[in-house]
Subunit: 217 residues, 2 copies
DNA sequence: TCCCTTACCGTACGCTGTATTTCGTGGATA
DNA sequence: TATCCACGAAATACAGCGTACGGTAAGGGA
C-alpha cells in the first residue's frame, strides 16, 4: 500500500488518540509509518496542514450523520455526531474553533447545518441564518471543549472523591474553605453528576427553541 | 523591583499579546526580564503553570466587571468582559475552555456568575444552576473562540475582498463553485458583516431567556 | 578564619519542525 | 556491456524549545 494523505492522516489520528496532540510529532508519525520524517513533506506542506487533514478526516465521519428529513433532527444529529467525535478523538476538541475548518468534509457539515437551519421557522433571511449558525456552532464548540477538559482532569485526578481530594484538594478545598466562593463550593459539594449527553441535548434544544421563536430584532 | 510571579505574568502577557502563544517561550520571557531562563522555575513549576498565571491575571480584570445588582446584568457584564479580554489578549481565547480555570480570580468570576444565575427565575435547584452555568459558559467559550479565529484569518488574508480572494480564493472559490455547498456559498457571498458584539449580546440574551423560562424537564 | 547553606545561573540533553545535502538505484544511451 | 543521468528517499544539519542538573558566588554562624 503506497503512501497517501489519507494513510498519513489515519496514522496521525491513531497516534493522537493515544498520546494526545502534544505527544504527536512529525517524526513519530514517520517512524510509525516506517519512513523518514521528510517523506511527509511530499504530501503536506506544514505540520499545520497535517492537522487540517486530521480534522477533515474526523469531519468525514460527522458528515455521515447529517441529512435527516427534518431540519431539527439534522441539526441535532450533527451536533451529537460532533460531540461523539470529540469524545472519541479528544485532540479534535483542542482544534475545534481554533482554526477555520475549510476541508471538503467540514464544508459539507457546514452546508448540512446551514441548509437545515435555513428551514427553521424563525429563520427568515440570511442574517438570521448567519446568527443561528453562529449560535449553535459556538455552543457546540464550547460545550464539547468543556466536556473534554472535564473528562481529562477527571481522568488525571482519579474519578473517585478521595483521589480527587488528594490531587486538587489541598489547593481547591483550601480555596473553597475561605468562604469567598460559596456558590461554587455548593456546586462542587452538592452538585450531582448530570448525564452529559442529556444535558448537551437539553441545552441545544433550548437554544434551537430560542432561535425559532425569535421575533425579529 | 524584585522578581515576582505577578511581574513574570505581566511580561509573559505582554509578549503573548504581540507574538501569540506560539511565539511565547520561557527563554524569551527570561530574556525580556534580563535573567536566565531557569530563574523562572523558582517561581513556577511548569510552563503550564505559567500559562495558568497569565490566565488568572486576565480573569482578574474580568472579575472587576461583575457584581451588578441585577442577576441578568451581572451575567451579561461578565460575558462581555470575557469577550473584551479575549479580543485584547487573543491567546486567552486559545486557552479558554482548554484547561480547568482554578485560579483565585477565575474562581471569583465563576462565583459571581453562579451566584447571579442562581437568582434567575427559572433556576430552581442546584441541577438547574449547573445546567445554566454550563450553557452560558459553553456559549461564551465557543463564541469567543470563533470570533478570535475569524479575526485572525481576516487579518492574515487581508480584510478587503480582493486580497481575501487572492489568499483563500483559489481553493475556496473552487470549492464553492462545485455547487456542492450552495448554502455556504450564499452565506459567503451575500452574508453581511454583522456587528459582532451585538450578535454576541443577542444570542446570549436568547439563551438566558431560554433558561429562565424553562419548564422543569 | 573557616565552613556551610542558600540562591542563583550557565550548560547540556533530548526533543521539536523543517531546509538542505547526500546517497542509492533504475533506466536510457553510447 | 559500460557509463552516465535523473530522480526518489534518506540522512544530516540547524535553530529553537522545555527543563534537569552541576557548579559557583554570596552571606551568615562557629
Amino acid at each position: 500500500m503506497p503512501l497517501s494523505r489519507a494513510k498519513i492522516a489515519a496514522t496521525a489520528i491513531r497516534l493522537a488518540d493515544v498520546h494526545g496532540l502534544d505527544g504527536l510529532s512529525v517524526r513519530k508519525i514517520a517512524k510509525e509509518l516506517g519512513i523518514g520524517p521528510m517523506r511527509l513533506y511530499d504530501y503536506v506542506v506544514n505540520r499545520s496542514e497535517l492537522l487540517d487533514l486530521m480534522v477533515d478526516a474526523v469531519y468525514a465521519r460527522i458528515a455521515e450523520a447529517g441529512q435527516r428529513s427534518e431540519w431539527r433532527a439534522t441539526v441535532l444529529a450533527i451536533a451529537h455526531a460532533t460531540r461523539d467525535a470529540a469524545l472519541d478523538h479528544e485532540w479534535f476538541a483542542d482544534l475545534l474553533g481554533g482554526r477555520p475548518h475549510l476541508g471538503p468534509h467540514a464544508l459539507a457539515v457546514g452546508e448540512s447545518t446551514a441548509a437545515a437551519l435555513s428551514q427553521a421557522p424563525g429563520v427568515r433571511g440570511i442574517d438570521d441564518l448567519q446568527r443561528a449558525l453562529g449560535a449553535i456552532n459556538a455552543f457546540v464548540i464550547g460545550a464539547v471543549r468543556r466536556e473534554v477538559t472535564e473528562r481529562r482532569t477527571a481522568r488525571s485526578t482519579g474519578t473517585d472523591l478521595t483521589a480527587w481530594q488528594a490531587t486538587l484538594g489541598p489547593y481547591l478545598t483550601r480555596m473553597l474553605e475561605t468562604g469567598r466562593y460559596p456558590t461554587v463550593a455548593r456546586l462542587v459539594v452538592d452538585g450531582a453528576h448530570l448525564d452529559a449527553e442529556e444535558t448537551f441535548d437539553h441545552t441545544l434544544t433550548t437554544i434551537l427553541d430560542g432561535i425559532t421563536s425569535q421575533p425579529r430584532t
